[in-house]
Amino acid sequence: MNVAFINPFITAGVEVIKQIVGGEVEQGQLSIRTAIFTTQQVSIVVGVSGPVQGQVIYGLSQVTATKIASAMMGIQQVEFDEMAISAVSELGNMISGNAVMLLSESGFVCDITPPTMVRGMNVEIATQAPSLLVPLYTKCGKVDITVALSAVPSPVTA
């Protein structure tokens, strides 16, 4: 995978989380993954289509997800209920949307799919490998961003 494809997701992740959750956000160590198994209790999957395509997965613990939902809603959320799930899914949507906006500035005009939530750890997600994972450390806990994107070859014209 082209490492340049992950940078927009890191930039967008840091900025969007700062804006809607608050606090500082620090980037952790980038690592390569050869197959994608969910590493956290809650995973938000967003598809990317266009000249760059694949999937982006946002993984977080249920505690972190509940804290982030509380921050987004401005209320103390105790349960990880339907509204909290929607809030955290929207976080994945916002980061992905802002990231593909940055990708478009590099000439890759892409679309995203509505976010899908996967609950549970060690669930395999079929996608292109290898992928890159970067953790973001927020005031609510760690958010793992896994980016599995590849450029679509241009059609050969006669």
Binding site: S86, N93, V109, I112
Partner: protein, 121 residues
């Protein structure tokens, strides 16, 4: 006070936008969960303004915008999406959207866009 229809597949966003609009003095007359739902509710509710997400299942917001504007050329629609690339904004404005708000947004930014659109003829 304007009658507003909100279309977004995320329950959280519908609730957030509704709170902002209600506190801004407007009345949310309906909520839609996808583009098709928005087109159908627009026909029934005849709102003064529609807040329309783009990335939605069944029918996306740009297709819904085209259908709403086709049914009523003077419809006031504001796109409200996480997708802010120039191509999407141009397509939406070219199809007839009055404004385009990129998520995440502040309450004031949303209300400013709504009030600007409502002031248009």
């Amino acid at each position: 006070m304007a009658k507003i229809l909100i279309a977004d597949d995320a329950m959280f966003m519908r609730a957030s936008i509704k709170k902002i609009l209600t506190e801004g003095g407007h009345e949310v007359v309906g909520e839609a969960e996808d583009g098709q739902d928005a087109v159908e509710k627009y026909a029934v509710l005849a709102p003064d303004l529609v807040m329309l997400d783009i990335t939605m299942p069944r029918m996306d917001g740009l297709a819904a915008l085209a259908a709403i504007v086709n049914a009523n050329a003077s419809a006031k629609v504001i796109m409200c999406s996480a997708l802010g690339q120039e191509q999407k904004v141009k397509e939406a404005i070219g199809t007839g959207a009055r404004d385009y708000v990129v998520k995440p947004f502040t309450p004031q930014k949303l209300l400013d866009a709504v009030n600007r659109a409502l002031a248009m003829p």
